[in-house]
C-alpha cells in the first residue's frame, strides 16, 4: 500500500499543456482528491498514474518503483472509469473475476476473490445480469468490485460518481472511502465537484490549467485559500476590489467609492491594488445603517430561501454587490429594499493582490 509520487511531469497535446511540470506526493493509505474545473488536467494526471497515457517528461513512482515506462497491467492499480467501462459481453460476475482470470489465477481462487469483493460492495444479487440490465448504482458497485478484485493496491477513480443521481451519489461516496480505508489502499479520486472532494478526502489538490494551485486538507483549503481561484472554487466568496492605503500593524483598505475598512496585514505593499475575499457565511447582518467599525452599508436586493440557509444579495452603497448566507432557523424576517449593515471577523477576510489577468479571468473555471 504504497505512496504515489509524481515528479516534474509534463504532458502536452499539440501545443497545449495538459500538465505543466506537476509534482505531487500522495501518501500511503491516503484518500486523495484531484479537484478542478474541466480541462484542468486532473484526468490526464490520473491516466498518467495508471499508465493509460505516457508523460512527455518527468517521473512517476508507485511505492519505490518507477513506473512511467511500466504498462498499466503491471502497476497493481485499480481504475474506476467515469463511464464504468463494464464489459458489455460479460455478466456482472464475469466482469468482477476478469482481473484474477487474466492474471492466470485458478478458478477457485478467482471465485473466492470475487465473493470477497462483492461482500465488500454489498452486492450479491443479480450477478448473472449483463451490464445493460443493471441500474447506475449497481454498475458503479460492480466497477469498484472489479477494480478491487484485480488485487489493486492503489485505487484510481475518475469521476466515479458522475453518472449517478444525487441521492445515490451521496451514499456511495462514503462507502468508497470506507472501503479504501478498510483495505488500506491509497486512493486517488478525480472530481470537479468540490463538495464531493471536501466530504471524503484526507487531502485535496486543486488544479487549474495543467498546474496544481494548492494542496491541503479540506479545512486548510477552505480556511486559507492561497489564491483567488481557490477561494472562489472551494466554497463561495465575495470579492471586493480596492487599494491598500496604509500598512501599520494591520492593513487599511480603500474600497470603491472611497469606503475605508481594515483588514489583516498581508505582504502586499501600500498603494497596490487588491481583492478582498469574504465568505458569505462569515458575515453578520444587522438592520439599519449602524456606525460600526468595518461595517459595510447596503440594501437588500434579493432574498432566496434555500432550506438550511437564507441567501441575501446586497447592493452596497458603493455599488459593489455582496452575498451573505444566514442559517434560516435563527433569522428574523426582513424584506427586500431594507437598509442593512454587514460585519465580518477581520481575520476571516483574505487579501489577495489584484491578478494581472483581471479578476474575472483569474477565477474563471
Amino acid at each position: 500500500m504504497p505512496d504515489v509520487r509524481i515528479v516534474n511531469v509534463t504532458k502536452k497535446y499539440g501545443n497545449i499543456f495538459a500538465l505543466d511540470n506537476v509534482s505531487l506526493t500522495v501518501r500511503d493509505q491516503e484518500y486523495f482528491s484531484l479537484l478542478g474545473p474541466s480541462g484542468c488536467g486532473k484526468t490526464t494526471l490520473l491516466r498518467l498514474i495508471a499508465g493509460l497515457i505516457e508523460p512527455d517528461s518527468g517521473e512517476i513512482y508507485i511505492g519505490d518503483k518507477r513506473v512511467d515506462k511500466v504498462p498499466p497491467e503491471d502497476r497493481d492499480i485499480g481504475f474506476v472509469f467515469q463511464t464504468f467501462a463494464l464489459f458489455p459481453h460479460m455478466t456482472a460476475w464475469g466482469n468482477v473475476i476478469y482481473g484474477p482470470k487474466v492474471k492466470n489465477y485458478d478458478q477457485k481462487q478467482a471465485d473466492t476473490i470475487g465473493h470477497e469483493v462483492l461482500e465488500l460492495v454489498k452486492l450479491n444479487e443479480r450477478l448473472s445480469a449483463y451490464p445493460n440490465e443493471l441500474s447506475g448504482g449497481m454498475m458503479q458497485r460492480i466497477a469498484v468490485a472489479r477494480a478491487l478484485a484485480a488485487g489493486a493496491k492503489t485505487l484510481l477513480l475518475d469521476e466515479p460518481l458522475g453518472q449517478l443521481d444525487a441521492k445515490v451519489r451521496n451514499e456511495i461516496r462514503y462507502e468508497i472511502r470506507r472501503m479504501a480505508k478498510d483495505l488500506k489502499l491509497t486512493a486517488i479520486h478525480v472530481t470537479h465537484d468540490q463538495a464531493e472532494a471536501m466530504s471524503i478526502s484526507d487531502r485535496i489538490a486543486v488544479m487549474k490549467k495543467g498546474r496544481i494551485v494548492q494542496i491541503g486538507s479540506p479545512q486548510e483549503l477552505y480556511m486559507n485559500p492561497s489564491s483567488l481561484f481557490v477561494a472562489h472554487f472551494i466554497g463561495e466568496s465575495n470579492f471586493l476590489e480596492g487599494y491598500i492605503t496604509k500598512t501599520n500593524g494591520y492593513s487599511e483598505v480603500e474600497l470603491r467609492g472611497g469606503l475605508k475598512i481594515k483588514a489583516v496585514t498581508s505582504n502586499i505593499k501600500q498603494d497596490e491594488r487588491i481583492v478582498l475575499a469574504i465568505r458569505p457565511e462569515t458575515c453578520e447582518m444587522k438592520l439599519g445603517y449602524l456606525s460600526t467599525e468595518n461595517g459595510l452599508l447596503g440594501r437588500i436586493d434579493k432574498i432566496t430561501f434555500e432550506g438550511t440557509y437564507v441567501r441575501y444579495e446586497i447592493r452596497l452603497e458603493n455599488g459593489d454587490r455582496l452575498v451573505i448566507n444566514r442559517p434560516s432557523l435563527t433569522e428574523e424576517w426582513v424584506e427586500v429594499g431594507e437598509k442593512v449593515t454587514i460585519t465580518y471577523p477581520l481575520e476571516k477576510a483574505h487579501i489577495f493582490a489584484y491578478p494581472e489577468a483581471g479578476l474575472t479571468e483569474e477565477i474563471a473555471v
Binding site: 495508471a50 493509460l52 498499466p72 497491467e73 481504475f79 476478469y98 482481473g99 487474466v102 492474471k103 484485480a150
Partner: protein, 562 residues
Amino acid sequence: MLSKIWNKLNALSSRKPLKYTLYLSAIVIFFAVILIPPIIGILIKAPTIQNVINQPTLMNTALGAISNSFSIGLIVAAFDLLAGVPLAWVIARGKSRWLSILDTLADLPFVVPTAALGYSLLLFWSSGGGISSFFGGSIISPGWLLVMLLHFTFSFPVVVRIMVGAMLDYKMEYERASRTLGAPPLTASRTVTFPIIKPSLIAAFSLAFARSLSETGATFIVAGAVFMNGPVFLQTLSNEFKNGSIPLATYEGATAFASIILIVVSLAIFSLIRIFGQRVKLPFGHGLPVFEKKISYKKGEWSRNSIALIVFIFIVLVPSLFVALPAFQAIASGTPLVQAFSGSGIWVNFWQSLLLSYGLAAIVTVLGIILGIPMAILLARKTFGNWLSSFLDTLINIPIIVPSIALGVSLKFFWQSIPGIPDLLLLIFAHLAITYPYFVRSMSAAMERISVDMEEAARTLGAKPFTVFRTIVLPLTKYSILSGAIIVFTRSVSETGATLAVTSKLQTAPVLLVTWVNSVRGSIASIPGVNSLTVGLACGILILFSFIILLVLRLLTTKGKA
C-alpha cells in the same frame, strides 16, 4: 410553380396516408423489381433440371464447380480476416501521419474494376513479365491458387474498411479497463476488444465471402481452362450454348440446376453464420496469458505490423496495380495511345462500352438513392413495427448473399418470358438488385445514428415531415448517402456476372475487357487489333477514370466532414 407544388406536398406530408403511400411504394418496388422476379424466374425454369438429371458428367462438373465456389469463398474470407484485421489495427490505432496514405491505398483495389484486377494479377503472378520473371517463368499458373489470390485481393479492402470503421467506433475505455485489471495488450484484445466488435468481424467475413461467391469476370480471366467455380461454370455453359456445342434444354437445365444450388446453399450458409455468429461466445478457452504477454509488447507488435504491411503491399497492392506497367508501355510506344484516343478500330467498341458502363452506373446510382431512401427510413425508424422491419431487413440482404451471376440468370429467366423488354432495362434491373442492399444498409445505419429526438424537436418547432427530412435528416446523412452512392457506382462498374447473364448484346467495359483478355490468351478466337498492349491500355484507362471519379467523390465526402 415548383415551390407551390413543394408547399402543397409539404402540407400534405403531415397526413399519414401520403407518408404510408411513399413507404409502401418503396416496399412494393423492392419486391416487384428486385426480389420477386429472380425468385419466380428460377422457379419457372426449375422443371428444366429434368433435362440434365441423367447426365452424370455434367452434374458432377456442376457440383464440383459449386463446391469450389464455397470452399474458396470460406478460405478466402478467413485469410482476409487474418490479414485484414492486423492492417485495420495499424490504420485505426497508429499515430503516424502516413497512415492516412495507407488508408487510401487500402481502398485502391476497390477502384480497380475486378476484370482489370484479374488481368493485373495474371500479369503479375503468371506472365513472363511480372514477379515470375525473377523465378524464370510463371510462379503461379492460372488455376485455383490464382483464383484464391484474386479473391483475396478484391475482398481484402472490404474487410479492412469494415474493421477500421469498427475499431474507430469501438470505445477504447473497455480495453483500457482491461489493461488496468492486469491484462497485457494481446489478452485485452482477445478477451475484450474482439468479443465486443464480433458483429463487425462476422459482417466482414460474410461480405468477403459474398464478394468471393459473386465475382465472375476476373475469375474467368485467371481460372484458365483447368479450374471452375460456380460462376465460371455458368459462364462456360452460356458460351457453349452460344457456339452451339450444347442444346437449349441442357443449357437451361444445367443453368437452373447450378443457380438453384448456389442460391440455396448461400442462403443456408449465411443463415448458419448468422445463427452461430450470435451463439459463439468469444473469448473461447483460456488463451495463453504468459505467451500472450511475451508477444504483446514492442517486438511482437512490430513484427505483427510488419507482416500485415508486407502482406498488404506484396499480395494486394503491387499485384493490383501491376497492370499499369503495360499501360505505360502502351503510352510509351505511342501508337495504341493515338489509336485509342482517335477511337479507331477496336477502340470504338471500347469507348462505347465505357460510356455504357458509366451511364448505367449513373442511372443505377440515382435510382438506387430514390428507391433506397424510403426503405432505409423504414428500416431505421421501424415505421411498420419491429416484426416487419426485421423481416424486411433480412430480405434486403438476399441480393448481397446470392451470387450475382445466379441472380442475373434468374432475372433473365423471368423477364425473357415477357417479350419486348429491352436489354438495357434488364441490365438496370440486375444492377439495381445487386447494388440496392448496399445503399439501403449504409443509409439506414446513418439514420439510426440520428436521434429521433432531433426530428421530433424539428416537428415541435413547426416543421412538416418533408421539411424535417430536407433540413435535418438530409444534411446529417448526406455523407452516408454519398458513400452509399460510391459503393453502388463502383459495384455497378465492376459487375460482370449478372451483366453477362442478362444480356449478350450489350457489352459493358468489364465484359469487353474479359473478352479482350481471353482473345489475347487465345482461349477464344482472337480479335484483330487486340494485343497485350491494348488490353493494358484499356485497363489503365478504366482504372484512371474510376480513380478520378472516386477521388472526386471522396474529396466531397472528406471536405464535408472537416
